[in-house]
Amino acid sequence: MNRPATPPAIPAALTVPMLRTLGLVAALSGFLVVLAHHLSLPLIEENKRIAIERALFKVIPGAVTRRDYLLTATGIQPFGETVTDQGMHLYAGYDTEDRLAGVALETAAQGYQDVIRILYSFDPACECIRGIQVLKMAETPGIGDKIAKDPGFLQNFAALDARLDTMGDGLAHAIVSVRNGSKTEPWQIDAISGATISSKAVARMLNDSAQQAAPVIMRHLHVLQTPAGTAP
């Protein structure tokens, strides 16, 4: 029977310097990290706001201001009133006369390399998707990353049909991607040839998100249309 090998003993005289050094370095490290976090936090928040607004005003044609809402299965409420992990962050964009120009939502799905995150706009007037903006992706340069730039692909989202079914519980037609050049219906997405997985991921995330969000948006449209500053 083999007895487990005992590790070489550390001289007792060394324990204190070891503890002192590690303790000192850890304390210094904690201080520096917290300091860096505090100093950079306002700048990072501001960068995030600028990035989201840049994407938002690009996907909602005509929007110049925004208000944030929380969309849950039961309704829509101004963002930040209740603290909850449930629901989706919904951005409503308004034109110069404070009329609702459209709403935008974030959605995500697994792409070819990593998760793709996009912001898409939904126009309640036509019940259609009006534009997408890729927020984060790691798709293959020159192939999968065409989902962000390819004019032919982006043309799919000029007015992608997202009408509700007669019951108003979901989309009348699921958003699907079809082989390049075979789009016949307004709810189909013409895939990029050679980048089927990335195109399918975009269709899947739009379908998943719109199936959930579009019925709630249409049912509670009055909340979004109420002018700023007045109680709903």
């Binding site: 310097p17 050094t21 590690l22 990290v33 340069p141």
Partner: protein, 219 residues
């Protein structure tokens, strides 16, 4: 507890070594992970090089200052805490500067923690040398790393996207070599640069040998 220290005087060579004779990328072939992964554009390469240089300088300085206090049994743990601290600070700083850049560099900012150039400098140099020499040597190594990354990033961006630092260089007729910004392009370009370095070094050694022969004959 530790070997007696042999302090190195600060000379021009302390700095230049990192740029040329001991260039971390082209000579020592260290830190290959960021070298291949983030050099798909010149701006990414520059940002990665500067971030690594900052972490290298700060962590080496601290290690050098604390070198007499760190018992050798816990030295690696201590170095890693110190390096991770500065990497976290750089991570916040890049987010504060530009989110686009932060997204482009991805996980490779956090991975500076395990970059062997930095840990190697801490173990092989900073733990034995005075602050001044450490700073100069770290600056040289950081500059060498940044220049190497820029060499790769510039070539890959010019060939793979037809631009440099985002500025379009060619007309629309230029067909970009997409493979250059994909992972295989990283290996191709690194291989080409290593070839250039090896060829230059060989020629230099040959010339020195010839000179030595001439002087020997002339005697």
């Amino acid at each position: 507890m530790s070997l007696p220290e042999k302090h190195e005087p600060v000379t021009a060579d302390t700095f230049l070594r990192g740029l040329w004779q001991e260039n971390p990328v082209f000579v020592m072939l260290l830190g290959m992970c960021p070298v291949l992964a983030v050099t798909n554009s010149a701006i990414n390469a520059l940002a990665m090089g500067l971030a690594t240089t900052f972490v290298l300088l700060c962590s080496s300085s601290l290690v050098s200052l604390l070198r007499k206090q760190i018992p050798k049994q816990v030295r690696i743990a201590t170095y890693i805490i110190i390096i991770a601290t500065f990497v976290t600070m750089v991570d916040y700083a890049i987010q504060a500067i530009s989110l686009d850049l932060y997204n482009a560099l991805g996980a490779f900012i956090q991975l500076i923690v395990v970059n062997c150039i930095i840990l190697g400098r801490a173990e092989a140099y900073a733990s034995k040398q005075r602050l001044g020499a450490t700073l100069v040597n770290g600056l040289g190594m950081g500059a060498g790393f940044t220049i190497a990354l820029l060499c790769l990033g510039a070539v890959r961006e010019i060939l793979g996207a037809g631009s440099l630092f985002g500025v379009q260089l060619f007309s629309d007729n230029f067909q970009p070599w997409v493979v250059m910004i994909l992972p295989p392009g990283g290996f191709f370009v690194l291989g080409a640069w290593l070839l250039v370095f090896a060829w230059y070094r060989q020629r230099r050694e040959q010339r020195l040998a010839e000179q030595a022969e001439v002087t020997a004959d002339g005697r």
